[in-house]
Symmetry: C2
Subunit: 196 residues, 2 copies
DNA sequence: GCGTTACCGTAACGTACGCTACGGTCTGGA
DNA sequence: TCCAGACCGTAGCGTACGTTACGGTAACGC
């Protein structure tokens, strides 16, 4: 036996470095050397912690999901009514702050990467469906008399709206300002109160 | 004087090849060699037609905008009422066919590229704002008594919804099926008939 | 204190990239 | 018919990538 390392800690540090590089230079700039430099170590250490670059990517993708899920949990728990919880979760999923805008850029990067990487595509589908299910459950709680099919349809629409706002705001924050995103979500939610 | 070439034709062929590669292999797979192979020529010819890779990307981005704009024109002209035109334009912007799904993948690729490339970002903003303006004009025509600010807000919401559907369907066509996209758009349009 | 061994930095490999220089090829005008 | 020259395929440049092999180094058991 000899030197022991804290594997989990190393993975987290490298995940943070991966995130930082991803936000600063985008997906094309995400290289092992850049991650190592940001983490203050060498590529050798990176590839001793993660088997290869794809493992690092997968870990960073899980980190993104964990962050957004965590924030959604907080927003949901802080709200009083189901309706308020729905609104809070949707609003936090949009990107009013610079931190969220950074997340949106990273999200777009992973989305584009998923188009050519089956593993990342599977992760994306899984995480997105989980988000849709969460929204569907909140819609069902806010509108108890709705059939579940309508809740599911409303959930997919709301998620599409939120992700669309995120994506468009990532590259054009002037047109898709915080207020524009806010009003878009509130207008969509107003439909829940007065269904056809 | 000597051999003459059809520059416009070559540019169009190479743009189409860029398009094809982007749809098939995603943004990381978009290399000059891949484009040349798809176009049946060499990298030398590619770089004699376009100054560099960015010029090729810009031309392909313009081609994408031209295609979608063309299709929107057709849908808009074929509709009878402003309301029908709005619905037709939004529905064709979604991706019910494999061809549109390919366009959506390409769109995502350019979006991700725009995050790191200011020139592509400018193009993206310009084209997207033009699309928002088109939708806003159709909303204004369909709802003549609305203030223009409300039309603009509705337009940004509708565009965000449509692009969100496109983006999500590109990577998860099962969850975001044609019917789901259809009903999402129709539900959003129904709000125009019964404003608050 | 010392050897063993897990750990990781160093260096380099092979590959693929964007891009360029050059020379062959084919065309259009005289 | 023939030549000037526009055109483009070939080959390779320099660079950066992911990955690997190896040797130094530091810590744990005895």
């Amino acid at each position: 036996m000899a030197r022991r390392r804290d594997l989990a800690d190393q993975q987290q540090r490298l995940s943070a470095a991966t995130w930082s590089v991803l936000a600063a230079r985008g997906l094309p700039g995400l290289t092992l050397r850049a991650v190592a430099e940001r983490a203050g170590c060498t590529t050798g250490m990176v590839l001793h912690t993660f088997a290869d670059k794809q493992a690092l990517l997968v870990h960073a993708r899980e980190l993104l999901h964990w962050r957004t899920g965590q924030r959604a949990d907080v927003a949901q728990a802080a709200a009083g009514t189901p309706r308020a919880a729905l609104r809070a979760v949707l609003l936090q999923a949009a990107s009013p702050t610079e931190e969220k805008r950074e997340e949106a850029r990273v999200w777009v990067g992973f989305l584009a990467a998923a188009l050519a990487d089956p593993v990342l595509a599977d992760l994306h589908r899984s995480y997105n469906r989980r988000f849709v299910d969460r929204i569907a459950a909140l819609v069902a709680a806010a509108c108890p008399d709705w059939p579940s099919a309508d809740c599911a349809a409303a959930a997919t629409s709301l998620v599409a709206l939120v992700e669309g706002l995120n994506v468009l705001a990532a590259v054009d924050p002037a047109t898709y300002s915080d207020e524009a995103q806010h009003s878009a979500i509130d207008t969509a939610l107003a439909r829940l109160d007065a269904p056809l």
